[in-house]
């Protein structure tokens, strides 16, 4: 558990940072010994005193890269926030993005959103903190995000000191934890073998406030982290200023989804005003209202335990949290506590490659076939296996007959159903071959009782078998106990000067 002390960030560089302040090429704007800090973080840490005025924390985005609503964000900036935060990632979109090392959000929209928040933060000269870069937050995602940032810096002629946090966890570290009995599954996922861990294409850990504190000690204007606890993005600077960590984390937990905690919920920027005793929440969309019920209800969202949130260094306890309406638009919140744990734990996520995927899309509208469809698919699979050798797998999704969740026979569609037949093989060519041969054989399969002999499938377009990238699966969604948090997440800082490019 890191110690938070007010206004302490101007000390010497932490031992694990790769590039100490002042060592960067070009004209350094960083803190030097004996020189007043000139960057946004140190300035805030030195100028803001809890108790004098509330700390204004603006959450600009809960999923950067899908179009930050600009009018609400501008309204938020008009409130002169002391710090701006953005969450940029999640494990929700599935194993592909972590495994393949690509962003889920379209790159041009990521660039648009980053430009919006970077320019606003530099204009206001306040710290900007971004977590879970590039969806999944591995090094490759962070680097892709940094490349976009550098383009923006050059294009807009920005000058800024950038701190980065790398969240990749070496497989060997996870294997050691496995051997030490310190790797616990979160929910229903198998304990991996050492080989399965080594086979992960990327493994990341969710860094917490301890790690962001090390990055902020480098006096950046902007922090961009790999995979991170959503809370740490918004809670660390307030905690370093001396605000109670329980309040900081509770505030962070709510605003990391921007206006989702409001009624009606949305994606508009959310402002929190933090004092030593409570925080006040307001959506920057005047029509989205934070009510005590809507805010309290948000604690349930995507959370297994609504009263206890696990962080690397301890637990956020919401048992005594209270919510009161300040007016029709704003809610005041207090009462959360932080319970440090003696031995830190770290959530780790890892995904490994399964094969190449091709999907076959078709519709079926014959009532006779619809009654025997699973059997027909099984029969065709048998035949195709005699024609296409090799290690290909078929996963059939029959929409209308229980593809989304199991359906009782009486509820299964007999008028029309959609087929998504998923083929996974070690080589895309093999998956393509299996899908193509399967299509033609199912199209003309003579199932019992057939009266429609023109063809069994309706295609919306051709080709109806489509390359669908690589298939991955999560191997790790585990807690690593006793993780050496201060060793695992390298932080570094660099000075970027876009004006030198003009």
């Amino acid at each position: 558990m890191a110690m938070f002390t007010a206004r302490s960030s101007t000390g010497p560089c932490w031992t694990s940072c790769h590039e100490p302040p002042g060592s960067s090429q070009g004209e350094s704007r960083s803190a030097q010994n004996g020189v007043a800090p000139v960057n946004a973080t140190a300035r805030l840490l030195q100028s803001h005193r809890p108790g004098d005025e509330p700390l204004r924390v603006l959450s600009a985005s809960g999923q950067l890269g899908y179009g930050i609503p600009e009018d609400a964000f501008r309204r938020g900036m008009a409130h002169a926030p002391h710090v701006i935060g953005c969450d940029m990632g999640s494990i929700d979109p599935g194993p592909y993005y972590l495994g393949a090392g690509v962003m889920a959000a379209p790159e041009s929209m990521v660039e648009r959103d980053l430009e919006l928040v970077l320019c606003a933060a530099r204009e206001a000269d306040v710290p900007l903190i971004i977590g879970s870069a590039g969806t999944a937050g591995a090094g490759v995602h962070l680097d892709a995000t940094l490349a976009i940032v550098q383009r923006i810096v050059a294009r807009r002629g920005l000058r800024l000191r950038l701190a980065t946090i790398r969240s990749d966890i070496p497989a060997a570290q996870v294997v050691s934890a496995l051997h030490a009995g310190a790797l616990d599954a979160i929910g229903a996922i198998d304990q991996p073998s050492p080989d399965a861990i080594e086979a992960c294409s990327h493994i990341v850990g969710q860094c917490g406030t301890e790690t962001f504190e090390r990055a902020l000690a480098l006096d950046p204007d902007v922090v961009i982290a790999g995979r991170a606890c959503d809370t740490a993005i918004f809670a660390t600077l307030p905690a370093m200023l001396g605000y109670p960590l329980g309040l900081c984390l509770h505030m962070a937990k709510i605003i990391e989804c921007t206006s989702l905690c409001c009624r009606p919920g949305g994606r508009d920027a959310m402002l929190a005003e933090l004092t030593l005793a409570h925080f006040t929440l307001a959506s920057m969309n005047p029509d989205a209202h934070a009510t005590p019920a809507s805010v309290a209800a948000h604690a349930l969202y995507e959370q297994a335990d609504p009263l206890q949130v696990e962080e690397p260094g301890g637990s956020l306890m919401l048992h005594d949290a209270w919510y009161e309406a300040l007016d029709a638009h704003r809610t005041r919140v207090g009462g959360a506590r932080f319970l440090p744990r003696e031995r830190p734990s770290l959530k780790v996520e890892g995904a490994s490659w399964l094969g190449e995927r091709v999907v076959l899309l078709a519709g079926v509208a014959d009532p006779v076939l619809l009654r025997v469809l699973p059997q027909a698919i099984a029969e065709v699979e048998q035949r195709v296996r005699t024609l296409v050798a090799g290690d290909w797998q078929l996963f059939a999704h029959v929409y209308g007959q229980g593809a989304v969740r199991e359906l009782a026979p009486a509820l299964q569609a007999t008028h029309e159903a959609g087929l998504v037949l998923e083929f996974i093989a070690p080589q895309a060519a093999l998956a393509r071959t299996a899908a193509g041969v399967f299509k033609q054989n199912l199209l003309h399969h003579a199932y019992p009782g057939r009266i429609a002999t023109g063809g069994n499938l309706a295609f919306a377009f051709t080709p109806s078998e489509i390359d669908a990238q690589s298939a991955y699966r999560f191997v790790l969604y585990h807690v690593m106990r006793d993780a050496p948090l201060d060793m695992l997440f390298p932080v570094a800082a660099t000075d970027l000067d876009g004006r030198s490019h003009h």
């Binding site: 929700d92 194993p95 979160i186 349930l300 995507e302």
Partner: protein
């Protein structure tokens, strides 16, 4: 205040929100927000809303279902294991956002 009485109204009639969503790739959470304290009391005390009843609807053992009662906000939350880790082959709902169906016609 009158005692809640049994009714034939379904949960879909009584609730303002019934939703499912992943809590990470291995767990599914189902949140039910009732309209008011009376609806909450009826639902929270109903055998049809017990862990056992919900487990039966989802076809899993009762020990695998946790329930949280949040009277202050008239909410009941269930936590279930996902049958397949999100996004692994065979999964039909990566986000777990369309798994609320079996809750809708419960009569508390």
């Amino acid at each position: 205040m009158t005692e809640p009485t049994p009714s034939t109204r379904t949960l879909a009639d009584m609730a303002q929100v019934i939703r499912s969503k992943n809590a990470g790739p291995t767990q599914l959470t189902i949140d039910v927000f009732l309209m008011d304290a009376a609806g909450y009391a009826l639902a929270a005390n109903s055998p049809a809303m017990s862990c056992a009843a919900v487990a039966a609807r989802y076809g899993i053992p009762v020990q695998q279902v946790q329930r949280h009662l949040l009277a202050d906000i008239h909410a009941i939350k269930y936590v279930l294991p996902r049958a397949i880790v999100a996004g692994s082959p065979g999964d039909g709902d990566v986000y777990g956002a369309q798994q609320h169906g079996p809750m809708l016609d419960i009569v508390p």
